[in-house]
């Protein structure tokens, strides 16, 4: 080889080396993991016995629900005119688009948890952050774009009395093994629970608990829960939809640190210039109302059970402007007897007479349910 052609070597070798690095580093991180075998019950036990309650990390959420792109939809909604009834079109458009924003695409958040009551979540966006802090006595929510901090004082008596007041089963405190047993028996008729291949999530080895519906015709194909093999912390939840290779919905840690986060992260003091809004603590419903809500004519009802549950809303319970919203028009398609909002995990069927049927089942089942009523 001549001297000159040798000098071309770096131009080939360095890009090749970089390419190898790009391919090899994620591969080595995902190298095969082999953990001691566990049954589904043992993995559930691992979760319920987990004592790990202090950690910090980055949570990533991705959704591929097959919804239209949000930016385009939001832009469209903004250019539409106003409306006269109750909730204005702008407001309902904003509601729909913020709900859609959370449902689609990728979001990242930094999460800090210490003990039962100290939580700090920071949702990332380009050059903006939404921060929520709760330390058991005060809860704060701050949006850097609006520069408004919302403060809720948590009543002192809530924490001490809540377990008895809010939990109807307080007297039958279940031990972790009992809880695991109970979960298994409750799920057994509808769901097959298996332990998948061991893997790695956020650099930690995990068992994968896979829940698969025993019935056919549901949109959800399986739910996989990754459980940290050491601490029993659930690190990732993946929902797969039938006929879709990418997970329809996934939320999990992309990195995690099991040390106790600094205590001052949970003491929140808004700076000067921040608009502080006080909000009353939502009063808990009085004790005794924990029996299933009486089925009044305007409340939602459920049809079927397990994976095939269909939630039905009678006419006139949804704000009228939602039905008139031009954005909803763009999101839904015309089907027999109404309009359909279709995603890979959930179908929502809006009948022409204003009723709403939603469930993780195929359209014809929703239509059948609508016709049966």
């Amino acid at each position: 080889m001549s001297r000159k052609s040798l000098k071309w070597l770096p131009a080939l070798a360095v890009p090749a080396l970089v390419a190898v690095g790009i391919v090899a580093i994620p591969l080595s991180a995902g190298a095969a993991v082999d953990l001691p075998d566990k049954t589904a019950k043992e993995v559930l036990l691992l979760v319920s016995e987990s004592t790990e309650d202090s950690f910090s990390g980055t949570v990533t959420k991705t959704a591929e629900l097959g919804l239209p792109d949000i930016d385009a939809v939001a832009g469209m909604g903004q250019s539409m005119g106003g409306s006269e009834s109750g909730l204005s079109v702008e407001e309902s458009t904003e509601l729909v688009s913020s709900a859609l924003e959370l449902l689609s695409g990728t979001h990242e958040a930094n999460v800090y948890v210490s003990g039962d009551s100290n939580v700090r979540v920071e949702v990332k966006a380009d050059l903006a952050r939404r921060t929520a802090v709760s330390n058991g006595t005060d809860a704060w929510y701050y949006d850097s774009e609006s520069n408004v901090a919302t403060h809720v004082a948590i009543p002192a008596d809530l924490k001490s009395s809540s377990p008895e007041k809010l939990d109807g089963h307080a007297d039958e405190m279940l031990t972790p093994p009992e809880l695991a047993d109970r979960l298994l028996t409750e799920l057994e008729p509808t769901t097959e629970i298996t332990v998948g291949t061991d893997a790695r999530v956020a650099g930690r080895t995990v068992y994968e608990l896979i829940l698969t519906p025993k019935v056919s015709g549901t949109l959800a194909e399986s739910v996989a829960i990754a459980v940290d093999s050491e601490t029993g912390l659930p690190l990732q939840v993946t929902v797969s939809a039938s006929g879709q290779e990418e997970p329809a919905f996934q939320v999990g840690f992309s990195s995690i640190d099991l040390s106790d986060p600094a205590a001052d992260l949970f003491a929140y003091t808004p700076g000067d210039g921040v608009t502080v809004e006080e909000m009353p603590f939502p009063s808990p419903p009085p004790a005794g109302e924990h029996t299933p809500p009486t089925e009044d004519a305007n409340g939602p009802t459920t049809i079927g059970s397990g994976w095939e549950t269909i939630v039905a809303l009678p006419a006139a319970s949804s704000p009228e402007s939602f039905a008139d919203n031009p954005m909803l028009d763009q999101l839904t398609t015309q089907v027999d007897g109404g309009r359909l909002l279709s995603t890979s995990l959930l179908n929502v069927f809006l009948t022409d007479d204003g009723r709403v049927f939603a469930g993780s089942v195929t359209v014809d089942r929703l239509q059948a349910a609508a016709n049966a009523q």
Binding site: W8, V14, V18, L127, N147, G271
Partner: protein
């Protein structure tokens, strides 16, 4: 800066000599000073415009952080940085990086540089270091001038972070310097691309324009949602990603991934530049 270096080194290598002369030529050029002055104009114009308008901005209106400027002058730095990153900084980097080799070739001074025993690799390294030093100078100008003009025209106090909490002035200076470091690192990949393009031609203006075009094209690709698979590999991807440095606690993960990405670009394009330059017949 070179004299203490020379004093401590017993036998200064030709590389250090070369670097010293390269830096002094670069920073003695009127063009360099004109560009730094133009960079400094961005925060000054911003601050004066905000000072002269009576109407208060609604939160979230205008470029990021602009509504905070009236409350705290230190935010001028951040707004100016955000405004300058997409076009203005790449433009100045394009001029400096595109000029590195092509400029010498165009002036006919390249062969004299190569007469010295320094070697072509060393010349490339020195040229790249010079361009990188300009990146640092440009971002520091932006941040420092922004802070100074902000302090002159507006009240200065504890800085409200993106979490709504405040930090003291001393820590905010540290955060500003971190942002400057972040932006400098962001531009190093473009610098390497400019260096490579500069070895391809003897027409400096062509290399400068091509470098700027590359940065604009990369940003356009980054804005197309259809090309989402490509986005993590674009060198412009993390350019505006310094929000983590302004949150509480400071989140350095974006800094790390940005640095890794830029290192990849530097490695690839420096290797390409070396191979091209080492095999090139230098005629001028």
């Amino acid at each position: 800066m070179s004299s203490p270096d020379l004093a401590t080194e017993r036998r200064p290598g030709p590389g250090l000599d070369l670097l010293g002369s390269e830096l002094s030529v670069l920073f003695r050029r009127r063009r360099t000073w004109a560009m730094l002055a133009a960079v400094a104009l961005i925060p000054i114009l911003l601050a004066v415009a905000v000072r002269l308008t009576a109407s208060e901005l609604d939160p979230g209106e205008g470029p990021p952080f602009l509504d905070r400027v009236t409350q705290n002058g230190l935010f001028v730095s951040f707004t100016a940085t955000v405004v300058a990153i997409p076009l203005f900084l790449p433009l100045t980097i394009g001029v400096v990086a595109g000029d590195t080799i092509a400029g010498e070739a165009g002036l006919g001074t390249l062969r004299y540089l190569l007469v010295s025993p320094a070697g072509r690799l060393r010349l490339l390294l020195v040229k790249y270091t010079g361009a990188a030093a300009f990146c640092l100078a440009a971002t520091l100008t932006l941040v420092v001038v922004g802070a100074v003009i902000g302090a002159l025209l507006f009240p200065v106090g504890p800085v409200t972070l993106l979490s709504g909490e405040t930090i003291g002035v001393a820590e905010s200076v540290l955060r500003s310097l971190l942002v400057a470091a972040y932006v400098t690192v962001s531009l190093l990949g473009l610098c390497a691309i400019g260096l490579f393009i500069s070895t391809l031609t003897t027409v400096p203006v062509g290399a400068m324009a091509a470098t700027v075009v590359v940065s604009v094209v990369s940003q356009i690709l980054g804005a197309l949602p259809q090309l989402e698979w490509l986005h993590p590999w674009l060198f412009t991807q993390h350019w505006l990603g310094f929000a983590g440095l302004l949150s509480q606690p400071a989140d350095l993960s974006a800094f790390g991934s940005n640095a890794l990405l830029q290192t990849g670009y530097i490695a690839v394009f420096f290797a390409l530049a070396y191979s091209r330059f080492a095999t090139k017949d230098v005629l001028s």
